[in-house]
Symmetry: C2
Subunit: 343 residues, 2 copies
DNA sequence: TTTGAAAACGCAATCGATTGCCATGATTTA
DNA sequence: TAAATCATGGCAATCGATTGCGTTTTCAAA
């Protein structure tokens, strides 16, 4: 559209017969302008419907009050909640959010990060994609002097601020819960092990078994079962074993757990009496299934707020690189029907 | 952090002993530079890890290749899907997205819109909040020469591009489906009538009844039942009537329908034989409940893509205001167990 | 060898806002 | 009354990239 001449500080200056300098000072509430002129400027600015050109301002100031967020998928419950949390906290400070999704693709992730750097965002918040093994693009961010916060899925070797869940403990507690409910052969559906979150969840599982002296059975550990379909397939495989499991911990996601439940229904296997099911993420639907699914809540909105606050406390207007720091949020086991064997 | 001197075209120019003009032209692939120097510039730019400063470029060019999106809630399925669709389509064209949530508050919506205008986004895409009755802020957008696209919840009196669902037809088809299943007393849970989408859904309901000569009974129409809790409360009220309904169309959302289902479970009312339930939106969970819930799919991701394409076809680089236009996407009735009375 | 046109590139202004430095006039202090 | 201090506000440079216009260089045609 015609970019219709917008009102600038020069227009205001001209109208009041002063210079743009004074207008700028007045608008920025500097104390180097007369109170009277300040009011006059504010009044005319309002009258003319003046809007500060942030492009010009940001160029001059070297900061944009903008935070870039890169997530694998915007429309995945966990991520959209984190984003909502970030938005909520940053909005109050007058910051804007630019949001990109990597679609779990490494190359798109790199492009997103580059775009955000071009945009001169003050900080990049990222949860890396599954494909990501190479993290030079993130190292690049730091090198360019842009703040970086990683969350949930993090590149561990990079020394940055990180906000994560205590996956290991949560996972361990979950498995302990299963053991205490009397389940003996507990299977694990695990996610891509190049992502630390999935590695940690596996460690938690192993630790729980160790603690209770339960032998580890590799037959019961299925790799890469992190969608509903893969979860279902894994379940079919598991249940056809000579000695099938009596509980399945879908450590990857609730979607995977849902796949498990579907197969159990199909095969007429009773949940939780014959098979216990435990998911991860506390997706809304886990409360609604029959039976409802025991899962782990990650406090996603809170996580978003934590990320934002971390930026404001540690990074905003800081001249030096921040000291790396990891904030770990302890997830909570939400016990529902799908694991209550001895109720 | 220290804004660590970034490489500019001047640095490249200096290194090659040419002027910034030539560098700029080379980087923009202008044909007013020697092929040799062009290659030289590109090579050194890569070596020095040059990144164009979009702030400066945008300021000069007067456009930002950025689209602002305002939705009531980022983490609501429908909206996050629409956003994902928009992102997908705009990303390919090198555009960025700035996303805000109004939290259903009019004042925050106004602030969001103002921020986006300050940011000089090329286009604002909005779905208005429930509270919105006053639309001067949107009129303002147009007046400032910024493109505006409304979707889903639209201010009808404003002449803009609009992408909506054909709520009326969808709603009518849904009710017809109920009638054909043999339901006689069909109740309606309606949303705030200041939003046209809810008005249209009501009209669809009324039209269906009219078509089949079913008397309209105001007792069976409950206002403002658009959350799970309100849906549950409305259901309790409806089911305690002397002549309770035998079907409930939760035209506001699937959440509302879920509330209905909960109450039915509590009161030991059989779904679908004693009570039919029909929702709206095709939230993921509707497939999972017992029984699964009949609902209406809005093709949300597709809607997002449509919005983006509309921008590129009708608005990008256009000098004149676009002629208003409404694109209506026909939602689809997804028939599931909760309404299959005579199966 | 001269002329002309095209190719290549430099100069300087521009997009708006910000800010250090300086000038003016007013007010205060000696 | 003179000198010092302070409050205001103007001037001009700056942030990087872009581009119209003008100048220089190159090369071919006359």
């Amino acid at each position: 559209m015609k970019p219709k001449k917008r009102i600038t500080i020069y227009d205001i200056a001209e109208k009041l017969n002063i210079t743009a300098s004074s207008v700028s000072r007045a608008l920025n509430n500097s104390n180097h302008v007369n109170e009277a002129t300040k009011n006059l400027v504010l009044k005319t600015a309002a009258e003319l419907n003046y809007k500060r050109n942030l492009l010009a301002s940001n160029l001059r100031m070297g900061k944009t009050k903008t935070i870039g967020v890169v997530v694998p998928r915007i429309n995945q419950n966990f991520f959209s909640n984190v984003i909502a949390g970030i938005e909520d906290a940053t909005y109050q400070k007058g910051y804007n959010l630019i949001i990109c999704q990597s679609n779990e693709s490494h190359s798109k992730e790199v492009k997103c990060v580059n775009t955000l750097m071009n945009q001169h965002v003050d900080c990049i918040v990222i949860s890396v994609s599954v494909e990501s093994d190479d993290h030079t693009h993130l190292a690049n961010v730091i090198e360019q002097g842009i703040q970086l916060i990683q969350f949930d899925r993090v590149a561990e070797e990079l020394e940055t601020l990180k906000v994560i869940n205590d996956n290991e403990t949560a996972s361990m507690e979950a498995v302990v819960h299963l053991i205490q409910q009397g389940y003996k052969r507990i299977a694990l559906l695990e996610g891509p092990q190049n992502l630390s979150i999935f590695k940690q969840r596996k460690t938690g599982y192993l630790n729980a078994l160790k603690k209770y002296n339960i032998p580890i059975n590799n037959e019961l550990i299925i790799e890469n079962a992190w969608t509903k379909e893969l979860g279902a397939a894994a379940t079919r495989k598991l249940l056809s074993l000579p000695q099938p499991p009596d509980a399945i911990f879908a450590s990857t996601s609730d979607f995977s757990a849902l796949g498990v439940l579907d197969v159990a229904h199909d095969m007429d296997i009773k949940v939780p009496s014959q098979l216990g099911i435990l998911g991860y993420s506390n997706e809304a639907f886990t409360e609604i299934t029959t039976p409802s699914i025991t899962t782990i809540d990650q406090f996603s909105v809170h996580m978003g707020k934590t990320i934002a606050n971390l930026y404001f406390e540690e990074m905003e207007n800081k001249e030096v690189a921040v000291t790396p720091k990891v904030i770990s949020i302890k997830p909570q086991l939400i016990i529902r029907s799908s694991t209550l064997k001895n109720k």
